[in-house]
Each structure stands twice: as structure tokens, then as C-alpha cells.
Symmetry: C2
Subunit: 494 residues, 2 copies
């Protein structure tokens, strides 16, 4: 039986993936290489590309092709691909071209401004741009809401985590509110009685970079298909064939950049190991934002901050920075597992991290529903920081509501992925541990291949072939179960 | 009177310029940042973009729009823009989509291979790819030849230098053959009697980079709208709002990278000063390849290697590398004006440089016409190097016919621009000197603004508003006159 309609769709999406490649590289460049005055032209070029993408996806022949392809004799992978194709198509036709172009323009203006406004603590300047972003994001949410029969905010959530709703999140995050603040306090009290030696700097940027490259090598990063660079906000970008991760360095302190690199390497290995034969098709893409984050947190939190991994790390740190009293195994373990209430999400330990996420989730949900406006954000931020972590951000925008890049380009609905990812990561690591009884010994000895093979077989190689729920059930024997996350924290920190 | 057809064309070309922006950045990235295994996907993405560009340009409504716009009431700039629009359109419709895509694919494969094949002196591997490039370039030349009534090679020349033919080049280059080898010998004999102190290295890459940035600053490069990076083959890329120049460093030697940077800064300032109000339209583009090269050679040869400029350069070199006997004014002048027969075009002095160009011109012309094949290149190269410079490249492909990037992506017809550029540069500098009687003093004192203002007023700000011939006549009072180049060489070197 012929598959001509499916094949035509497949050619269209291959073409789109090539335009996405250019978008990925030009966006990476914008955050790592581009000089300040290149911003406007770059924003316009990316906006033009996003209009083109939208035009191709919303061509009127698409619906007919998708319907016809669904009648063809497709194998399992092709059928999963068709489902992803349909999801992209449905997402695209919801929005008029003019809105897509406007989103890209106001987003890149806001993001670019943020690069200088954040260090200047310039909330006034930033909020002017952010209001525009919120305005077009609300418009987007309205369009999606009407088409999908979801609330406006749930319709944005669905872009990043198909199947997740604020109802489900309230359940998952509500239970956090029950046990997490108490655990946090107990761990802080426990750690207050311990002695920790803080490493003495300065730690030269170039040496930190070399250490990062070294650890990326241990973690299996393929340097013939990727790079490490510097950006204001660390990210993993590029394309599966050429994955670009970034970090940022602080000469006074060693671990932020190091664990940042380990985190992004988790994202990178997922991308580098997506199913090669299907590359260019939607089914070859990473399953979802939360699954992506589960891989980075698997690397950073489950693996990277484990006591076993510190054994592997210690001689590398010494080889780059020389010996000093802080560089001793039990101290290194304490440093990697130090819990502290702080203002900055990306620097947060894994216990307080969910507090940062729930705060953002509640604010962005209210922002999109129209319950609050941009001008209300700083006061609400301060209030929720006090409530969860007992810290104030009054007047300190740069370390408060201006610290993240996400809202600048309108990625509302993304933040919950971080905590979903942490939950998936804990569940996956527990499953890997069951499958690999010698895991801790292997990690300490640097024999990481068995663990990476497990991830490759259970997560990476599947792309978007299965739904998130199927993928996790296949890998771990059950659907998302937040108990693993709680058990992980309690067993590591108590 | 309405200009609706012109305005519609103008919108189409603005859109194209945004795709060209992405092409420029992704191409820059490919030469400076991309890891080896990113090559195939990048090649495919760029090929897709070039097909898109070609499809937009060759849309069947274009001819009608251009005809209708020609009847509208356009001002001078709009009319010049329409002419450039028409030239791009005519160039585009000549070639079928499949050929455009094939060119991009075989070109990026050949260029990518060259990056490792050249250092490995692997002519066998390289020539396999080059044959494919020559095959599709001959096809292109055939299509152009039939449409334009030019010989196949002249039709390729016309892409880079509208109005130039091999007939005219034979005249210009033929006269070089009469006087240049004799001048070269006299200068070499004269310089043999002089004592020159060679600077003692090593010269650390990072210090060379800092010196380059320093000199770029003196030359007015706008760092808020551009960057300096490293690539195997130096070039000036990016877009007018974000100009990317590159160089390459050799720790044993200081001047190649330094004068390379000065050269590329000439290209860069032309780009950075193209007429802002017209950006996005073809009339805002640089006039031609030879005019572009005239700006880089104006910076490198006319200005950069002048005795006056060495006064400006000397303290900067000393501040980056410390004092040593070679760093003394008269010695620095000798070093900058040293003439030597050598194998490498980009390292050649300005007297022997045209020999490298004429050699390539004769070979590529024969290659396109079919008089010779790729396998004939090494022997011909060796023969002509012996004839012009008395040097052999037998077996030394990497320093012979594999030294340049140009042919790898099928840029046949480009090389003559270099020597045309040298001739334009000499003529322009002579005109600037007439307009600025204190020029040498100004240069020595670092007061370069008057010279740059002259260039801006006479060349940069005009984009493609005038034909090359008009532009040069307006700036210098006469059309291209190769006597200025000869006079320049004789007065500097004899």
C-alpha cells in the first residue's frame, strides 16, 4: 500500500527542520556571540523565519494531507510521527501570522533589553517591554483556549507538557507545600551543626572552562558534535548534530559553573542521542520540556551531586586548581549537597528549588488569566519569597523577578517543567539503580557507560515515539509518582 | 502618483534580506564555531535556504512587478534599487532550483572537506569533491551564457563585476605582464642590499588578538556592531548591522595576522557604513566585489603599509609586545613593505600579488570553458608559478592549488576582483591625497577621521546607487585607470 500523503508530509517537515536549524544557530549566536547593535536586525530575521514556519505549517493542504495520511498503512514510528505532525499543525493554525510575527519581535526586544536591564536593576525599562510580551501572550492564550477548550493558562502549559493541567499541577505542587518547608528546615538545622570548608579562590575562568570540558568528556559529551560557550543565562541550544551548551563563570566560586555544565550536559546528551534515523521528523524530537529537564537533573542532581560522583570529581578538581583543604572527599560531598535559602532559582539546591518554581507558576498563571498585571509582579514575588523561603526581594529586581530569561520571550507555562523534571529524574534514577546493582561503585570508578546505556535505551533513543506517560511507564514500571522525589531528598539529606 | 508595484517589490526584497541575514550568520558560524560533525546538517539547512531564496526571486509575478514598477514615478535611489532588483531577478531565473540546491550541497561538502584536506595535502580527496563543484559551475556558466549572450566564463565574471569581461581583463592584466616582473626583480635586488631586523617571537595569540582589536579601534571599527574571530581562511562576513571579521594567528610571526586584520577592517567599515536608511534593499549593498576589495586594500596597502601609518603602529606594537631591536620606525617600514616571491596569495606583497591572481584567472577561465579539467590544475599551477615567480609547487598542493577557499564553493570569476580592487584602491588613495593635502601628517598623528570621511562620502554611503564606473568617476574624476597602481608601486618601492 502506498504512503504518498505521509511521505509528502514527511518532506514538508524535513524542510521545516532545516529552517529550525537556522533558527537554533542564529538564536544561540544571539545569546553568545552577537554584539549589542546586531539585535534589531537579528530579531527581524528570526521573526521572518517564524512567519515562514507558520505559513508552511498552516497551509490549507495540511489538514487534507494529515487526514489522508492517517488512512495509510503506517508502521508504529510513522504513526507516532503523524501524531506529532498533527500536534504541530494544530498548534500552528491556532495563531494568525501577524500575532506570530509580533511575538517574535516583542520577545526578542524584551530579551535583548533584559541583557543590560537586569545588571542595572532597571525594572522600569524591563517592565515596559514585558508588558508587551504579556499582552501578546494573553492573546495567544485566548486563541489556544478557544480552540482547545482549556483555560487560557492550561492552553499554554499544553505547549510544553501535553497532558498537564493546572489542576494536576495543583495536586503535585500542593503536596510539596505540605512536606517541603518542613524538610528544608530540618536539613538546614542539621547542616548548621556540620563544618564545611569553603574553597578559596580565585578560580580563573579559563581553568574553570577546562575543568568543565574535562567533566563533559567524562559525561560522554560528543565534542565533534557540540560546543561549550558563555552566555548570561545558561542553556542548551543548537541541533542534535551540533549541540551548543553554555555556562557563566564567577572567578570567586567554582561550583555554580561546574554543576551548570553538568546540568546542560544532561540536556546535551539527550539531544545528541535522539534517534538519528528519524532526525528531521517531529518524532525524533525530545519528548517534552519536563523529560528534557529530567535528563539535566538526572545528570546534575541524581548523578552529579551524589557522593559516588564526588569521588570521580575530586581528582579532576585538584588537577585543575591544585590541592587545598576544601578539596577532600567528605567536604566535597557536603559542598555539593549544601542546602541554603537563596534568591536565585538557578543557584538553588534541589530542596528549595521547587519553591522557586511554584512561586513562578502561581504568578504566571495569575498574569495570563488577567488576575494580576506586570506592575503587580514585584510585590507578589516578594510576598511569596517570604512565605516559602523567608527572604525579601523588595527593590532587588535583578535577584527577584528579573532573574530569569523565560518570560522575556513569552515562555509562560514553561516553569512547571523544572519540578516535573526533578520528579521524573528521581523516579528514573531509582529505576536505573534497580537495573544496575553496582551503580555507586561504577560511578565512583568512572564507569558511567552502563548508566548512559540505560538512559539511551529507556529515554534518549525514543524521541517522541511514546507519550510522556508511556515513556515513563515503560522505563520505570509506573506513571509519574512524586514519592520518588521525596524519598530521594529524604534519603540524601536526612 | 502611486508606487504600489515598486513598494511590493521592496517588501519582497526586505524579506529576502532577512533570510540573507540568517544565511550570513550560519555561514560565519560554519567557518568559525561549528564542530566537524555539524557540517552535513548545516549544509542541508543552507541549501534549503538558498532554494527558498531562489523560489521567491523566480516567482512568476516578479517580471510583471518589475515591468510595472519601471513605469512608476521613482526617485533616483528607487530607480537604482529597481535596477539592482532586476539584476538579482535576472540572475536568479537563469538557474533551475535543482541546480541551485546541488551547488549549495556540493559546495559545502567541498569546503568542509578542504578544512582537513588542505593541512593533510590531500589532493586526491579534495579533487574528488572539486570535480563536482566544477561540474555544477560549468552547468551554471552554460545557463548564464545562453541567457546573457556572453561566453560561459564571462557570464560568471558578470556575477561579481557587472561590466567586466575577459577581454577587458586581458587588457588590464596583459599590461601587468609587461612591467610587473621587471619591477619585482628591481625591488628584490634593491631590498637585498638593505638590512632588515626580523622581530623575535613567539608572539602569543592572545596578545596578537589584543593588538588587532586595538588597531581595529584606531581604524574606526564599530565593536557594538561587529566582532573579530578566528577562521582557517580570513574573511569579512555577517550583516551591515553586525559585521564579523576573522583572522588566523601564527605565534612565530606578527604581521600576517595584523595586516590581515587591517585588511578585513577595510571590508568591515564599508559594510558598517553602507546607507542605513536603505538597508534591506539591494541598492544598500556594496557596489561590487572589486570595490569591496578596493576598500580592504585601501586599508591594508595604501594606508596600512604606508610609512606614515607605521608611526602610528609602532607604539602599539611595543605596548603589546615590549621593546626589541626590530621595533624601530625605519625597520618597521621595511618590514611592512618587504617584497618576496612566495607561494601563498594571502601572504603576498602588493607587487607579486597580481601574479597570483592572473595565474588563477587563467586557470579558472580554462576550467570553465572546458579547455582543462580538475586533474590538470596542479601541473598548470606549477608551470605558471615558475613563469611568474620562479617557484615550484610540484607535489605541494596545500601551498599550491589547495590554498584558497574560493573554488571550493564554486566562486569562479571572483579572483580577478582582487587585482581590480588593488587598482581601484590606488586610484582612490591618489584622489584622497589630492583632497587632503595634510594626509601623511594626519595619518602619522592618528587623525584618520578626514580620510574615513572622504571614503564615506565618496564610496561607502552610496551602496549600489551608482555603477562601478560612475562611482569611481565621481570619486576620482576618471574611470578605472591602472596607471595609478603602477605609479603607487614605483613611488613606494623604487
Amino acid at each position: 500500500m502506498q504512503k504518498q500523503h505521509y511521505n509528502e508530509l514527511s518532506r514538508i517537515f524535513l524542510r521545516l527542520s532545516r529552517f529550525d536549524h537556522l533558527n537554533a544557530i542564529a538564536s544561540w549566536d544571539m545569546s553568545t556571540m552577537m554584539p549589542a547593535n546586531g539585535s534589531q536586525a537579528r530579531g527581524e530575521a528570526l521573526a521572518e523565519l517564524s512567519v515562514l514556519r507558520h505559513q508552511i505549517l498552516s497551509d490549507k493542504k495540511m489538514a487534507r494531507l494529515i487526514d489522508a495520511a492517517a488512512q495509510e498503512n503506517l508502521d508504529d514510528v510513522e504513526r507516532a510521527n503523524l501524531e506529532e505532525i498533527n500536534r504541530q499543525y494544530q498548534n500552528a493554525i491556532l495563531l494568525p501570522d501577524s500575532l506570530v510575527e509580533e511575538q517574535s519581535l516583542v520577545g526578542s526586544r524584551c530579551e535583548h533589553g533584559w541583557r543590560t536591564q537586569r545588571p542595572a536593576n532597571d525594572w522600569q525599562g524591563f517592565s515596559t517591554n514585558l508588558k508587551e510580551v504579556v499582552r501578546v501572550s494573553r492573546e495567544e492564550a485566548q486563541f489556544r483556549s478557544q480552540a482547545q477548550g482549556l483555560s487560557p493558562y492550561d492552553a499554554l502549559l499544553d505547549k510544553y507538557e501535553p497532558g498537564i493541567t493546572s489542576n494536576k499541577l495543583d495536586g503535585l505542587f500542593g503536596s510539596l507545600r505540605d512536606w517541603l518547608p518542613g524538610l528544608l528546615q530540618r536539613v538546614i538545622d542539621k547542616q548548621a551543626a556540620e563544618t564545611v570548608i569553603i574553597p578559596e579562590g580565585p578560580f580563573a575562568t579559563e581553568k574553570q572552562r577546562q575543568l568543565g570540558l574535562d567533566v563533559m568528556g567524562v559525561l560522554g559529551f560528543d565534542f565533534a558534535g557540540g560546543r561549550l560557550d558563555v552566555s548570561a543565562h545558561p542553556f542548551c541550544g543548537g541541533v542534535p548534530e551540533d549541540v551548543r551548551i553554555t555556562t557563566r563563570y564567577n572567578q570567586d566560586e567554582l561550583f555554580t559553573a561546574l554543576f551548570g555544565v553538568i546540568h546542560e550536559t544532561g540536556h546535551a546528551r539527550y539531544e545528541q542521542n535522539l534517534p538519528r534515523p528519524w532526525l528531521g521528523q517531529p518524532v525524533a524530537l525530545a519528548r517534552s520540556m519536563a523529560i528534557h529537564e529530567s535528563q539535566s537533573l538526572f545528570f546534575e542532581m541524581q548523578l552529579g551531586r551524589s557522593a559516588a560522583f564526588q569521588q570521580l570529581l575530586l581528582p579532576k578538581i585538584i588537577s585543575h586548581f591544585g590541592q587545598q583543604p576544601a578539596f577532600e572527599l567528605s567536604n566535597l560531598v557536603k559542598l555539593s549537597q549544601r542546602v541554603e535559602r537563596g534568591l536565585i532559582r538557578v543557584d538553588a539546591d534541589e530542596i528549595s528549588y521547587p519553591a522557586h518554581v511554584v512561586l513562578r507558576y502561581e504568578i504566571e498563571r495569575a498574569l495570563i488569566s488577567g488576575d494580576i498585571d506586570v506592575d503587580d509582579i514585584p510585590a507578589l514575588w516578594d510576598e511569596k519569597m517570604q512565605e516559602w523561603l523567608g527572604l525579601s526581594t523588595a527593590g532587588d529586581y535583578r535577584n527577584g523577578c528579573m532573574q530569569d530569561i523565560h518570560w522575556t520571550d513569552g515562555s509562560f507555562g514553561y516553569f512547571p517543567s523544572y519540578t516535573l523534571g526533578a520528579m521524573y529524574a528521581a523516579q528514573l534514577f531509582a529505576a536505573a539503580r534497580r537495573a544496575l546493582p553496582e551503580l555507586d561503585t561504577q560511578i565512583a570508578e568512572g564507569d558511567l557507560e552502563p548508566l548512559f546505556t540505560w538512559l539511551k535505551q529507556n529515554i534518549w533513543q525514543h524521541g517522541s515515539r511514546f507519550s510522556t506517560s508511556q515513556l515513563i511507564s515503560n522505563a520505570t514500571g509506573e506513571d509519574l509518582n512524586p514519592l520518588y522525589f521525596r524519598k530521594h531528598l529524604e534519603s540524601r539529606y536526612l
